[in-house]
């Protein structure tokens, strides 16, 4: 159970690909900062390949004016995710 955070968008597709390689079905991917842009409809096929759960940080969605069908968390929820998982891997 690992929480992966990813802070870069489709401008750096290799970062998400590397993250996907490292993820397992019990892991969670939290999109933060520019990573939020992966939640745009254009990248739905890519996100569908994530083996575990995908969530997005609320304030970064709001800052970029993006609405998503993904589960969202606020900063408190982000902290809870780090507690609910064994460790945190940050992709940046």
């Amino acid at each position: 159970m690992i929480l992966h955070t990813l802070n870069q968008g489709p401008g750096n597709p290799a970062l998400l690909e590397n993250c996907l390689t490292a993820m397992t079905a019990t892991d969670t991917l939290l999109l933060i900062e520019d990573g939020i842009y992966w939640s745009l409809p254009a990248y739905a096929d890519t996100l569908a390949r994530v083996p575990g759960r995908v969530q997005a940080l609320e304030s970064d969605l709001t800052a970029r004016g993006i609405k998503t069908a993904l589960t969202t968390v606020d900063d408190t929820g982000f902290v809870e995710l780090t507690i609910n998982h064994d460790k945190v891997v940050s992709w940046f």
């Binding site: 870069q8 900062e33 900063d75 408190t76 902290v79 460790k87 940046f92």
Partner: protein
């Protein structure tokens, strides 16, 4: 639960340091403990005392200082990363024969041993990087 935060993102060029600050606030607000905030690589620029921001923008170094004062946080700036980027305290300024120093009050310079200690002491280590 005990958290340690590693900040590798600079205060202006990317969003990572701001995310780290918000996350640290949320950790403290939830009643958890922050063992240390370790500033590494370009993250050391969060420790400058000389950044001047427009009045309608917030200063991350100042916010780190205020949070540290309120919660008695240990803000450690990697000494090797800092001196090569021009962030020094009085002691390092003298060692390298500089006439000025610029490490903000509330921050201290220390080595990678503190980073290892940070990882060992905490239940969770969360890293915030740059390039975003």
């Amino acid at each position: 639960m005990i958290f340690s935060i590693i900040v590798q993102a600079p205060p202006v060029q990317s969003q990572g340091a701001e995310t780290a600050l918000r996350f640290t606030r949320a950790v403290l607000a939830a009643g958890h403990q922050v063992h240390r905030v370790f500033f590494y690589r370009d993250g050391i620029h969060n420790g400058t005392d000389l950044a001047s921001h427009p009045q309608d923008e917030s200063s991350l170094p100042a916010q780190w200082q205020a949070l540290a004062q309120e919660h008695n946080l240990d803000l450690v700036v990697c000494i090797a990363a800092a001196v090569r980027r021009g962030i020094v305290n009085e002691g390092e300024a003298k060692r390298y024969h500089h006439e000025h120093w610029n490490l903000a009050p509330g921050f201290e310079l220390s080595g990678l041993g503190q980073l290892v200690d940070t990882c060992l002491q905490a239940d969770r280590v969360v890293t915030f990087g740059g390039r975003s």
